[in-house]
Each structure stands twice: as C-alpha cells, then as structure tokens.
C-alpha cells in the first residue's frame, strides 16, 4: 500500500484496523481492551523493516492464544558486517585511449 502512495502508518492501518473495521470486528492490537490478535516480529530494525518484510520469523497470536509460530534459519556466504583489515580504498583508473 505504500507503493499506492499511502504513508507507512496508513498502509499498516489499511491491512489491520481498517480491514477489521470493514469486517465489523472489534479493534485488535497491543492496546488494553483490544482483542489480543497480535503479531510478534524480531525487534531487529525499525517499523519500516517490518513493513518492508525484512523479517520472515513471526509469532501470531489470536484471542490470546498462539496460532502460528514461524522461524527461519538461514545460512549466507556473506559477512554480517564489514570489517576490512585496513581501510585502503583503491581508485579505479579508467584507461584513456592512446
């Protein structure tokens, strides 16, 4: 929905509070008094990371009971951080025509 030119919070609302209201359901979410239909995602980035689907692991709660628990194990042949032995940057020399 963000690609439909809604702001991130509006996009989140359209698939959560807006969708539930269309269905005539009481509001759900981590707010006292609301239905305990919740999603837990890894707290590794900001809300934008959640919207961008950066994390696949999630625990889904419906009516206060865990409905689904999904974990993702991943193996990557890439470093987790950039830790070069020395910050030597080489300049690419573009050969000029003779």
């Amino acid at each position: 929905m963000t690609a439909g030119h809604l702001r991130p919070a509006e996009a989140l609302a359209a698939v959560t509070t807006g969708a539930r209201e269309v269905l005539g359901l009481p509001p759900a979410g981590p707010v006292p008094g609301h239905v305990a239909d919740l999603v837990l995602v890894p707290d590794s980035g900001d809300l934008g990371d959640v919207l961008a689907g950066a994390e696949d692991a999630r625990v889904v709660v419906a009516g206060g009971r865990v409905l689904a628990d999904t974990r993702v194990a991943r193996s990557l042949d890439l470093p987790t951080g950039v830790d070069l032995p020395s910050p030597v940057l080489t300049r690419t020399v573009i050969p000029t025509a003779p």
Binding site: G24, A28, A36, V41, V60, G64
Partner: protein
Amino acid sequence: MAVEQFSVGPPDGVAHLAGVALRSLRGVRLPDGTVADLGVADGRVTDGPGAGPGADLDATGWRVLPAAAEPHAHLDKALTGPRVDPGAGNDLVAAIAQWRTILPSIDAADVAARALAAVRRYAARGITAIRTHVDVPLDGDPMRGIDALVALRERLRGRVTLQVCMLAGSDVPDAVHAAAVTRGVDVVGGCPHLAPDPHREVTRALDLAERHGLPVDLHADEQTDVSLPDRELDVVELAEQVLARGLPQRVTASHCVRLGSLPPERLDPVLDLVARAGIGIVTLPITNLYLQGRDATHLAPRGLTAVRRILDRGILLGAGADNLRDPFNPAGAPTRSRRRRCS
C-alpha cells in the same frame, strides 16, 4: 499450580509456541517504541501483568504489532493455480472463463481442503480474520462451496475468524440466490459490475440483505474504463440505494478500480456520496495489477482505487490481497508485507 513460563527465543530457533494460551507478554517492544509487559485475559489485552490462567511469555527481543485481517479472499478458488495455464495472461473476463472450466470438477471436499491449506498460509503470515467470498455455481450443487466454507468457519472458530460472503452471479436464478443466504452465510455479496443490468443486481442483493439483516459486500467497478456516465458506476448505484433504503447494516464496496481513473472533478462528488452512505471501500491492489490494464500498449493503468482521496475524505479503507494462486492471480500470496509494498 505453577504458571507455565515460556520464552519466544531467537528468530532462527525452534518454532514451539503454537497452541500456547497466554496470560502475559513480557518485555515486548510496543508500536510506540517502548518496551513493556502486556496482560491477556478472556482473549483481550489488559493493562498490567496478567493474573488469570495461561502462560507467561518472555518476548524480549521481539516487537508486537496488531494482527492483520484479510477483508477479501476467495477461499473456494484458492490454490487452483496448478490446474490452469498460469501463462494465459487473464484479464477479469478471461479469469472467470478459466475458473468456470474447472468449477464443474470441484466438489465440497476439494473446496474445504484447499480453503484450509490457504487459511494455514494466511495464519502463518499474521492474518487472524478472513472474509471469503464464495461462488454459487451454476453446474452441480450450487450450495457446495457455501456449505464447505460455513463448515470450515465453525471448525476454525476460536482460532481464525472466518466470514463467509455469498457471491452469486447475475445468472444465478432468484430462487437459488434467495436460498443461498439461508445456508449460514455472514454477508451478502454480488457482482453488479459483471451484470447486464447492474441496477437489478444491486437491488436483489440489498433486498436480500435487508430481509435477513446481513451486512453487504459487493464487487464493484472492477474495471478501469470510465467512459460511462458517473450515475452508472456501481458504487454510485450502491450508495444511492443504501441512502434511499436507510440501510443500517455495514456496506462495503470491494475493488472500486474505476475510482482510480476518475479525474478529481468527477471523483469528489462520487466520494461525497459514498461518505454520506457510510460505505467502506476495500482495495485489492495485487489482483487488480494482475487483471487490469492488459489492453494498454504502454502507461497501463495501475488498477488501484483512489486510495489517497478515499482516506482524505474520511471513508473507511481496508486493503487485501484477494486471490491466492488461482486464475485471477496465479502468483497471489497472503503476505502482509507484499500487500503493503507492492501497492
């Protein structure tokens, strides 16, 4: 008896929590960025630590959000993608034709099995409530889809909220149309946008809804062409009838793609009417990106309704994914994130 203590653990750990009833979530990050404890009692979130039955769940390192709802699915069609040519490049009319070629071979058990497999995907992605439209087929038992999904709704009660919306085409006889609503459906649907006489189709859906006191959710204006007069828009017809009848129940117009094609001077009066009628709109971007705009050689229309102006006008907006691997979107997925990112 000692209260059970669980910890969510790492994102790449073993999935072990399904079925655990909670009385609290500890150390979880809230949408406002703070870390707090939440209580749970009788299916609702409470202030402060939970004291009733259920387990305490340490959610340190996890962020909590509201679960999503899917306001518009077709569980009777879900996962039939492998039975059709996914490269056919269907527009709406071609998708319906393709669906109708496989429909005669589909029975209630088939509907139930695919619908449950689809619900499992939705649930795993974080969707805890689903409204499904369901066809009333012309071939064979017209009630088999409704009966299968009403039974599934009851089977899943307490875990996933399922709403069943009857979707009878304009070629379904009045007697069958009227009988379908008595099979335990939650919502009256319809597709005036495909009917030779949209006025008649809206009328018979609202007559039925009025008689049974049920909410309404019509497929509306699922086209991009707006060469027709505004009074012939499905959503205008629907809004005028809702106002004329003083219909108190919730009324929803799904798709409303044509609104995205209207210039502001035509759109604004239409949205005023929709707002006065209290109609909510459901946008289904992924399916409409797939189905619409196929006759354009370039600069194809996006197939989106006018989401910005709908929100700015204060009209209720829900967003969904619509089709999950069926002739209307062979690559459809129930993912919250894709629905947000891709439109």
